[in-house]
């Protein structure tokens, strides 16, 4: 059976980077002076991070990003990738699908409602998308019957 080689490390690194950027955006949500970003007719982080779309049900989107990446670090630990417990792999897959759905919504909000793009947010979007690519393409392997039991046989 095909095994995973680079995927666990890659997703773990992407998740850690995601926590870093999401933490920065969370800080700047509350302290706008800390926001360092290009500002022109296309890119404007302040416009995005102060927009009504920067909060969902009163929760800053940046904090939702943290709530996405922190569990993702745990789910992307090598031991979690090796486990035979299908639920771990299903939860990781579900998280990545929700994450990419969220970035599609946020990108459309930036382009059509806010009419400005936040470069830091785009960084988070890219990390989320790359996580999605690795996790989804690894799904057929980790969700195959018998995955994770070979090393113990």
């Amino acid at each position: 059976m095909t095994s995973l080689r680079w995927q666990p490390v890659t997703t773990l690194v992407l998740s850690i980077l995601g926590v870093g950027v999401a933490t920065y955006l969370t800080v700047t949500h509350f302290d706008k002076q800390a926001l360092a970003c290009v500002s022109n007719s296309t890119f404007n982080c302040e416009a995005v991070t102060t927009s009504p779309q920067s909060e969902i049900l009163g929760i800053p989107v940046a904090m939702l990003g943290l709530a996405f990446f922190v569990p993702m670090i745990v789910l992307c630990l090598p031991v979690a990738w090796r486990t035979a417990n299908r639920w771990v792999h299903l939860v990781r897959l579900a998280f990545s699908v929700v994450g990419v759905g969220m970035i599609v919504y946020l990108i459309s909000a930036e382009l059509f409602t806010i009419k400005a793009v936040c470069l830091w947010c785009s960084g988070v979007h890219l990390l989320t998308f790359l996580l999605f690519v690795v996790i989804v393409t690894s799904a057929p392997i980790v969700l195959a019957p018998g995955y994770g039991t070979e090393s113990r046989a």
């Binding site: 007719s41 404007n44 991070t49 009504p52 599609v104 382009l111 059509f112 690519v133 989804v136």
Partner: protein, 378 residues
Amino acid sequence: MAQDPPKNSGGGNTPKPGGNQPKSPAGQSAKERSRAQSRPVSGKAATKAPPARSTAKPKGASASRPAGSKGGNTPRPGRSASSAKPPRGLSGALIAWGVVGLVVVVVAVLVIVNVTSSSTKAANYTPVTPAPASVVKDVTTVPASVYNTVGITMPAAAHAGLPITLSKQPALTLSGKTPALFYFGAEYCPYCAAERWGIVTGLARFGTWSGLELTASSSTDVYPSTPTFSFRNATFTSPYVSFFPVENCTNIPDASNASCSGYTTLQTPTSQEQSVINKYSSPTYIPGATAGSVSFPFVDVDNKVLFSGATYSPQLLAGLTQAEIASHLTDPTNSVTQAVIGTANIVSASVCAGTKQQPAAVCTSKGVQAAAKALKLS
């Protein structure tokens, strides 16, 4: 290290009983027969196989196969090659990559639609038109209760900061009139667009507006097309304070006009007004300001309070019309109203500092007092 398959192991490498099993040569032990019928697990195993095994090759097996070749996917003797299944996970991988491709396509479509729609309206600008009487009425007759309820409460995410309070400066006199409120801005400027709402509603408590017009900030700058008024033809009449507006630039693009950041020039300040700009729009009075340049909007309220930039983010007004903004000004819980009226109270408190707290009904009101306290004017 290659090993013989376990006796009871299942899977594809165990010969099936019956069927097209080849006949074993006479004299072979059961173990040797089993080895002969089993495909090698790896090329290495096949290489290490005893020479006798080569004689046990079943009929129908390829005689030309090299000894070291891998045989894992080779059809069994008697089986048709066309009946072999594709490797497990291939269809799953295709679906996975298909999903990834779908996401890429969706994002690409969003970007293309946005770029296409932006390019078609890039050269547009919002013309200046007379403000409808209903809009003027809404912004100039905001109930006192709304001013008092809002105070300086503003949406935290949109609050950009308070203006600068000056001390020990002579009262501002322009064209022989004092106290005076000097506004220096531009129609393309989104921060001016946001601040005008507070200036119009704040000053409305001290006098009467006429000649107000509607427009919007640049469609290609930050906070594009922020809805607003224009002061280019506006007149404000008041027994308490005089208003001197200068709309330096339009929102009409003119790439050749560097003095207006790529827009056409509209009005220029008088020498007296230019002196005010030169003196107060400087690092001496505005921290972070660059000597010799002005950040729009620059507002000097009787040399007592300086506004440099907007009090709240223009983003709050995105997607709204002037009529919508104006009609919401009776709702103190509305975030746009809070930003506009909060700014209005700050403007009013600044004016009151120069009018010796007149009119008292305005200057001693709860909302204005809250602003005065925040500005350290009281």
